[in-house]
């Protein structure tokens, strides 16, 4: 199975039913991801230069940090794309326990690092990691692994409930405590996709979703922070300088971009008007500088990414690969939609980064690792 090149094995070089050559899925996935990561780097340089200069005296600080992240991500991506993904099954459980440990540690004052009203981070010397980012990948892997061991089918409610649901619930509880509602929703979405692909009944999943929504609604109503975010989502103009500020400034950035944008680097809104311009709200700066053309290209790239991810799942040689590819695709697609939805005012702000594009080392490294796994599945894929 091992190969010294990134290219898929020659045996896969046959036309498939959809007209795409089998190896094309691999290549297109690699190309799409590289293009988006590259674009992300450019946009981070543009969007963060003001903030970086103001805070640290160097316009390149965030860019350089992200470059390090991208380099580490590239190692993970290349490594995992050559690594036989089936061997990840052995790693699934340890990875899950590691995630839980990280999530617990992040909550402990003195060990976890707080920022922006939430304690999400762990510091190891110069490196800061976000365990909730790892949770998404770990839960996808462990769910797929457990289901596969059960024979790959969870049509029965008991099979469904033990142990995937409690494991997910435990991790989610810890993430909600941070609080990180956005990542929780994405994790739940990805696990649900895995369960659905494994044949779980719609009504079972529906019941789970209702239960989860109820819990989320309870959370929004009882926690001032979440409620304030939800209220400002519904009525951003009620308090344009506080709660609604980010939503409104993000939309102003998008609106002033028009068709073709104000030009790369020419954003006015990044001059301290849009908070988190280089992280969660980078899409707003893309809209301002590159216009509708730019944002639609990004949207199309994510759409294409999902299409390729689904193809990889369909062509996966085994059930584990099928479930993992489906889960990863759901994760990245959902995260992209939730981020873009928040910036355009369609969804409430939950503070999740735009995959591959936003600033954030842990997020980038893990997203690239996930893409590596997708590539590995694609490389071993059977013909459609």
């Amino acid at each position: 199975m091992s190969s010294d090149t990134l290219a898929p094995p020659a045996t896969a070089e046959h036309p498939v039913s959809t007209g795409l050559r089998h190896g094309d899925t691999f290549r297109l996935m690699a190309a799409t991801s590289s293009a988006m990561i590259g674009m992300g780097l450019v946009m981070i340089l543009s969007a963060s230069s003001v903030e970086a200069f103001k805070t640290y005296g160097s316009s390149f600080l965030f860019f350089r940090k992200q470059l390090v992240g991208a380099a580490m991500g590239l190692v993970a991506l290349l490594g995992l794309s050559r690594f036989d993904y089936r061997r990840l099954r052995k790693l699934a459980r340890p990875l899950f326990w590691l995630t839980l440990a990280g999530l617990v540690a992040a909550l402990i004052p003195g060990i976890g690092v707080a920022g922006g009203g939430s304690s999400r981070w762990l510091t190891f010397g110069p490196v800061t990691v976000q365990p909730s980012e790892l949770a998404k990948l770990a839960l996808i892997l462990v769910s797929a692994h457990v289901i596969e061991r059960k024979g790959g089918f969870v049509g029965d409610i008991r099979e469904l409930c033990i142990p995937v649901i409690p494991m997910t619930a435990l991790a989610c509880l810890l993430m909600v405590a941070q609080p990180d509602l956005g990542t929780t929703i994405i994790t739940v979405g990805a696990v649900l996709t895995v369960l659905y692909l494994a044949g779980a009944r719609m009504r079972h999943l529906g019941a789970l979703v209702s239960l989860g929504s109820l819990a989320a609604a309870g959370l929004i109503l009882t926690q001032g922070y979440q409620r304030a975010r939800f209220t400002s989502y519904l009525h951003p103009w009620a308090d344009p300088l506080k709660g609604g500020y980010q939503i409104i400034q993000g939309q102003i950035a998008l609106g002033s971009g028009g068709w073709f944008g104000v030009g790369l680097g020419a954003s006015r809104q990044k001059w301290s008007y849009v908070p988190n311009a280089h992280t969660d709200f980078i899409f707003a700066i893309i809209g301002e500088e590159l216009g509708l053309i730019g944002t639609l290209l990004v949207l199309a790239a994510f759409g294409f990414f999902c299409y390729l991810g689904i193809r990889i799942a369909r062509e996966a040689p085994d059930r584990f690969g099928f479930l993992v590819a489906g889960g990863i695709t759901a994760w990245i697609g959902l995260q992209a939609v939730i981020n873009i939805g928040a910036v355009t005012g369609m969804l409430p702000i939950t503070g999740v980064p735009l995959p591959m594009v936003s600033f954030g080392g842990t997020s980038l490294v893990l997203t690239m690792a996930a893409i590596g796994i997708l590539l590995s599945i694609a490389r071993n894929g059977r013909r459609g």
Partner: protein
């Protein structure tokens, strides 16, 4: 397995489709709305890049001006060199809280957009030079404004001084006041802190007591009752025997005199002594609606046309005038009657100007940056309140008040002063409001002044308009005599 993946694909397609539509909406359809939105900092930045024009007093003192800052983003900072003295007239120009008073009404002139651009402004705009705003010149006399503020001192209240012949607002003071500079800065947090402190202040320093707050006018309203009587066949010789109280029909609540005194006689004696029972009884003799009509003729019931915000003064309602008890109370400026100090100044000014009330004028003219007058506002008539002969009679009556009545504290040696005191009851247990309305010289009026001190100032319940407010009005008139030389 393929069915599931197809459904997942479909869900993804729908999600991206919705995002696609929404993106087009925000970036294209909604773009114009977003561009012009006040929360759009670029709109604000554009405005702060303009050298906003100054606001001047009538005697060319700078009340508000914009100074260049070293920052690139907010190029000009608004400051108010006179501090709290002009706050209620100039208003503020805040990054966070917007604009108020003249800063709001004359905004387009001050930014240089109103009334068409001059060639200079047009070329500045086209060639990217600094856009220069126009100058707004008020009618307020800086020295008089300061004299009025000083005369009012630490009392809670207001002073309004008008030129009866032109309607010019010579002074408009409301106390306590605030410094608009504190909320017009460029640090939103500092502005917000100052704003919150002002809002929380129980003295309501941002309230313009001169024009935006009504108070029961008390005995100053007797001037209007007298005007109504004089126009309805009840002359100055109308006499009632002196009594301590008057019980109108259909009630058991008698009208009493101040300090339970006994008074009566003719109208001259009654006004001089501010006799409650006399005017209460006089009003019950009037045809239905006559009192309300006269009050309306003086401007009650509508907000005087003013360049800053003001409120209408309250007339006795038709229902009030059906009951003799309420007619009697309205006649002495109680019950449902309420007036702003500005309205009572307009009453005095109207009587001084032979019954004609001039439109209160706060802004004299607007000048372009080169000093050319690009907009001017000539004096205009607002209302004909009473015929000249009624005005003359009222003037004589009011001169009696200052000569030998409750308003002697307003006397100025060598000048005939006409006036009327008022001590208005309000909420039970609270000291009355002290009023004084006046004009001078009575034979050739130059200035009309209304003074209100809320809740008797520091004299408490012993306060009367004559003891507390008349001296304040007198000081303002004396100051005007020196400043404008009459």
């Amino acid at each position: 397995m393929n069915r599931q993946i197809r459904i997942i694909g479909l869900i993804a397609l729908v999600m991206f489709g919705v995002a696609f539509v929404n993106l087009n909406w925000v970036q294209l359809v909604n773009a114009q709305h977003l561009a012009n939105n006040p929360a759009n900092v670029r709109v604000i930045l554009k405005e702060y890049a303009i050298a906003r024009g100054p606001i001047l007093s009538g005697d060319e003192k700078t009340v508000a001006l914009s100074v260049k800052t070293p920052t690139e983003t907010l190029k000009y900072l608004r400051t108010y060199p006179e501090g709290p003295t002009f706050a209620h007239v100039s208003g503020y120009y805040s990054y966070v809280y917007g604009r108020a008073q003249l800063e709001a009404t004359y905004n387009s002139w001050l930014t240089g957009q109103g009334g068409g651009l001059t060639m200079q402004q047009l070329s500045d705009q086209l060639l990217g030079g600094t856009q220069q705003g126009n100058t707004v010149v008020t009618t307020i006399n800086d020295q008089l404004q300061k004299a009025a503020a000083q005369a009012l001192g630490t009392h809670k209240g207001a002073v309004v001084a008008l030129d009866p012949t032109t309607g010019d607002v010579l002074a408009m003071v409301s106390s306590p006041s605030y410094d608009p500079t504190t909320i017009s800065g460029h640090d939103p947090n500092a502005d917000a802190a100052a704003w919150k402190a002002l809002q929380a202040d129980p003295g309501k320093p941002m309230l313009n007591r001169a024009a935006s707050q009504t108070y029961p006018p008390g005995s100053t309203f007797k001037v209007i009752t007298a005007a109504a009587a004089l126009q309805n066949g009840l002359g100055v010789n109308t006499s009632y025997p002196p009594t301590g109280q008057f019980l109108p029909a259909q009630t058991n609540m008698p009208i009493k005199n101040f300090g339970n005194e006994v008074c009566g006689g003719d109208m001259t004696q009654a006004l001089t002594q501010s006799c409650n029972v006399y005017f209460a009884r006089l009003a019950t003799q009037l045809p239905p609606g006559a009192l309300a009509k006269t009050a309306r003729d003086f401007g009650f019931g509508e907000a005087p046309p003013l360049d800053i915000s003001d409120v209408p003064s309250r007339l006795p309602t038709d229902a009030d005038l059906k009951s003799p008890a309420f007619v009697a109370q309205s006649a002495i400026g109680q019950y449902n009657v309420a007036a702003t100090p500005l309205q009572m100044a307009l009453v005095a000014a109207g009587i001084a100007n032979q019954g004609k009330i001039m439109t209160p004028r706060l802004v004299k003219e607007v000048r372009d940056p080169q000093g050319n007058v690009i907009k001017s506002k000539p004096p205009s008539l607002w209302k004909t309140a009473v015929p000249p002969e009624v005005a003359a009679t009222l003037t004589t009556l009011m001169e009696g008040v200052v000569d030998s009545g409750t308003g002697t504290a307003a006397q100025i040696p060598g000048v005939k002063v006409a006036g009327k005191t008022g001590t208005a009851q309000n909420a039970t247990g609270q000291a009355p409001h002290a009023w004084f309305i006046s004009f001078a010289p009575a034979d050739a009026p130059k200035i009309a002044v209304a003074v209100l001190v809320e809740n008797g100032g520091n004299l408490g319940s012993e306060a009367t308009g004559g003891r507390l407010s008349a001296p304040i009005a007198q000081q303002v008139m004396v100051a005007d005599r020196q400043v404008r030389g009459w």
